[in-house]
Symmetry: C2
Subunit: 275 residues, 2 copies
């Protein structure tokens, strides 16, 4: 038993969908979350820049002596998982490998992925799936407008949302994949609309849900679970405005966010320089 | 006469549309440009964060001993123009006041503004127009999807572009403004589509063009023009990947970008801390 927190970071609010999954499977765990909202999004930036930011985010969370570190951001996972695993004294769970495994377990048919431009460009999903099943057909499609659409708060039945989704999903609809990985933490908020367009033959895999299962396994194996009879706490940090984070974050996390503190990007950069 | 550069900064590539206007009116001037692509966009962030980034960007450019400092980003202008004017030893030109003046000069009818969420939230255009003409009706509409749409490179006649523009411009079409300020450096790339929807009675005001006229006036008044017989140089810095900046920047700047160097966000943060 350990009340040490689970450290979770993301480029902004999106990772709160992963926090929701973590609390869903492990309601007793305490979570420290860092959302780098001042430098969001990561998905349109170069992998080198994302790697640098991810290292800073991880080093910030390691100060809280977490039992596990969760890279909730798909782009950060794609850019930095190897580097993070090397520097971290605790297990690091990304969102790409677990969801690739979940997709392979879910179907024998081809696998689809929708993700940010940087994640698709990195080839991380393609590599992860090929490692698990070299013969599996996979198609990854970059969907740059989905993050801003979710952040704008458009209802999922808004005609613009449907129009944009139809545009991005066209090739995937033709491919008729057995599973479609929602390879960005923002996309679960569009799950209903995506499911409608892909049809019942395609199972949607949320990368956060798959990561939560992996975290639970690690915590159980190491005997550090905090027990499910307690109610875990959520303590958030953001590099942008805390009030705004709390206000918008509720939609992603599915519950009221009461504790949000500010941490400056200069503090993060200093952490990186001094270690 | 002075071959000192004009310093221009923006959150990313968008400010290159302002550079294009500057070269259009002053082909002999040398320009040093900073695009903060690692932390782009500014328009979805809090004004405090944008102010901090803008200060760092300005301090970086002041190292080049510029004759004028141009805040090409509307959001940075909205958040930081007063602070920047205070710290800068050289004149600072923003994009909000000049385009507000240009709109008022262009029409007696109401004025429309389209801009990022942060710019609209700041009320900077509303304040600037009210200062110049307190009785003038003004309507500012936030258009969060337009920056990612431009960055994605969709053609302006793409049905999604039309659909999104119709959605954002609905209230402005009803208002029938005499002038519509394109209050974000990305929007000139959608000028044709916006013009078609607004009709010939609405004059489109590019904030970059108005700023360029202002810069020319300042340079002429101070007798520091570099002469139009020379061909000015463009030296770019970016906080993200230089190759990517050069490749994508061409679309915004309208010409090949041959000199792009990297500057880290840590260097910018250090500048801010040490001065």
């Amino acid at each position: 038993m350990s009340d040490k927190p689970i450290g979770v970071f993301d480029s902004g609010l999106g990772g709160l969908t992963v926090v929701r999954e973590l609390f869903g499977t492990m309601p007793g765990e305490n979570i420290v979350y860092l959302g780098d909202s001042a430098r969001v999004p990561y998905g349109i930036k170069s992998l080198e820049t994302v790697r640098k930011f991810a290292m800073e985010d991880a080093k910030f969370l390691l100060q809280f002596d977490p039992k596990v570190l969760v890279v909730a951001c798909n782009t950060a996972s794609a850019a930095a998982i190897d580097t993070l695993t090397k520097i971290s004294p605790v297990p690091v769970v990304d969102v790409i490998r677990p969801s690739s495994q979940a997709a392979i377990d879910a179907t024998d048919r081809p696998i689809g992925v929708i993700a940010t431009e940087a994640t698709v460009r990195s080839g991380a999903y393609q590599t992860a799936v090929a490692k698990l099943d070299p013969s599996r057909e996979i198609l990854a499609v970059a969907c740059p407008l989905l993050v801003p659409i979710v952040e704008e708060g458009r209802p999922t039945d808004d005609p613009i949302v449907t129009h944009v989704l139809c545009d991005y999903l066209r090739d995937l609809q033709r491919m008729r994949p057995g599973a479609l990985i929602l390879g960005c933490t923002h996309y679960p908020l569009l799950e209903k609309a995506i499911g409608k367009l892909m049809g019942p033959e395609t199972q949607l895999i949320s990368s956060g849900a798959a990561a939560a299962v992996e975290v639970k396994k690690i915590v159980a194996q190491s005997g550090t679970a905090n027990g499910d009879t307690k109610t875990g706490t959520l303590c958030c940090y953001t590099t942008d405005n805390p009030e705004r984070f709390a206000e918008l974050g509720q939609r992603f996390g599915g519950r009221k966010i009461s504790s949000v503190k500010h941490v400056g990007t200069d503090e993060l950069e200093n952490l990186q320089q001094n270690t």
